[in-house]
Amino acid sequence: MSSGGQRNRTREEDGKAHTGAGLMSPAAGTVLLRWVALFVLFNGAMTVLRLWEPLWWAAALVNFVLLVRIAEQGALLVPARFARTYERSLAVAFPLVLLAGWQLVVGAEILSPTWFPPPTRIVRALWELATGFDEFTGTSLFGRPWEIPARLAEDGLKDGAAAFTAESHLFATLMRVFAGFAIGAVPGVLLGMVMGVSRTVRAMVDATLSAFYVLPKIAIFPIMMLVFPNPFGEGPKIAVVAISAFFLVAINTMVGVRDIEPVYLEAGRNYGATGRRMFRHVIIPAALPVIFGGLRIALGTALIVIIAIEFVRSRTGVGYLTFYYWEILSPDKMYAGLVVVMILGVGLTTGLKALERVVMPWRRDPGRSDPGG
């Protein structure tokens, strides 16, 4: 292993040294072919020797290493201007390979297709969930948005919209995440600001905040059910999401404000910024990158918390849906529910990133344009 690594290093150095002479490409191409051949050979041997069943996990590991080597060699052949495209395509190709591997392993019944349904079946289940309507519970995943115009025409604006929101699991989850996140993050930012600015408040509150911070917020769900008049309503669920977001956002905001470069504050003061203007022009923008870091973590946590709560105590939501299909032993749809959660997570994070770019235009990097002197 170590000698292989060393050999590889010298080869790369050779490659760099000979770039000008154009000697690198054929050499790298040959090496690439060799790795591909090894990959084919290995998998062929596994099949011929019928080793897949007992050793599929070890084979998966070896295949991963081989694929990494192939991808690395491939990178040497890619022209510099396509290097980024190449890396991005790796990011797309890897999960596809993973899914294909899953499909093969389950297809060969090495893993039980009942409990680990192949991706194709999950996709089909996802389609059924997306388009179908559960007569028994009167719900569907998206709430059948294509029915909206007909419903509005039939029931009028208010009742039509209500029917849609009551039917859609996705809407229920999203609403809880957004409401809880907003209710928690806004006071979180405010408290964090105060803590960042005032040493005294920080000294008073910090220890308490840290203690609550480590508490798994889902553990306070029972308390919230006691607090709210309707323990099974939306109140306790949103409250737990809000509390989770609150602590994360407060602590990050505090750190962001506390760690502002003192020279920015001095500059602000020297040029006459006081009070509200100091916040608006110096403190908030200076702390914003760290605050957004906190918001990102808080949004992810909000999703975790709400799915967990929906597992436990809810009749709506994507978490409920997922757990429901586990209870009625329909793994295809359970996996489909998990996929929806994943897509939801990626979507929310992407949305927040987009917001970040709008709010902090100075963090966008269109490249240093022509800096001279």
Binding site: Y264, A267, G272, V282
Partner: protein, 259 residues
């Protein structure tokens, strides 16, 4: 006419175990329109003294008087900070306009003065760029323009060129000379470069190593207007060396203290 008069300024900070004395009984008078350079080994309290003059810190004891002559809303002082204290979240023109905006200078006048100073430091093409898109030298030009657009009675500069490479530094020194020649503002300039102090200043004030107090003072006899060519004047090298002779022991002491 005396613009700034500081007498027996002391400043100490509460340290973890004992009080740390940064400045001890430092005195300095600066005339109206004078360019005074403060030189001393690093950590000698020259930046601390500058911050006391700027009003960003209170002196522990001593008397500081700054003669204020304009009542037309001009700020008393504006500071150019070391390294990159321009706001990364504001564009070049927003940075330059910052002091004017904080003082509620009417929009039209603010825009005109901002544009003028951006032009004067040669950043017209970059007016709507953010600092991270600029080089270090250009960023410090923004810092200088931000201070000068504010039109302060006193310009305070805290090692403004300290973080720049030697060549960029030289370019900006020439630029500072050119700008100062046309304005003749009262300037207090902190630097650890003797050559920079001699090239720019009317007077070079030496501080001792920590805690900083008066060590020596030199009047720069070189004629104005100066350019980089001034550095070839024999008087320039002689004075620089003379200052170095005085400073050497202090630097030695400061190195030993920090060891």
């Amino acid at each position: 006419m005396t613009k700034i008069s500081a007498e027996g300024i002391c400043k100490s900070f509460a340290g973890p175990r004992q009080r740390v004395e940064a400045v001890r009984s430092f005195s300095l008078d600066v005339r109206e329109g004078e360019f005074v350079c403060l030189v001393g080994p690093s950590g000698c309290g020259k930046s601390t003294f500058l911050r006391i003059v700027a009003g960003l810190m209170e002196a522990t004891s001593g008397r500081l008087e700054i003669h204020r002559d304009a009542e037309d809303g001009r700020p008393l002082n504006s500071m150019v900070f070391q390294e990159y204290a321009v706001f990364p979240w504001k564009t070049v023109s927003e940075n330059v306009a910052f002091g004017l905006a904080m003082r509620n200078v009417p929009r039209k006048e603010r825009d005109a003065r901002t544009a003028e100073w951006i032009d004067r430091v040669g950043l017209r093409r970059f007016a709507h760029h953010y600092p991270h898109q600029l080089s270090g030298g250009m960023r410090q030009r923004v810092g200088i323009a931000r201070a000068l657009a504010n039109d302060p009675e006193i310009l305070l500069m805290d090692e403004p060129l300290g973080a720049l490479d030697a060549q960029t530094r030289t370019v900006l020194q020439e630029e500072l000379l050119r700008i100062w020649q046309s304005r003749r503002k009262t300037v207090m300039y902190v630097t650890h470069s003797i050559e920079e102090a001699v090239l720019l200043g009317d007077r070079v004030v030496l501080m001792t190593a920590h805690p900083g107090t008066n060590k020596a003072e030199f009047t720069v006899p070189l004629e104005r207007p100066r350019t980089l060519q001034t550095t070839t004047d024999p008087q320039f090298s002689r004075l620089s060396y003379q200052i170095w002779e005085e400073l050497r022991d202090e630097v030695q002491r400061s190195m030993e203290e920090n060891a």
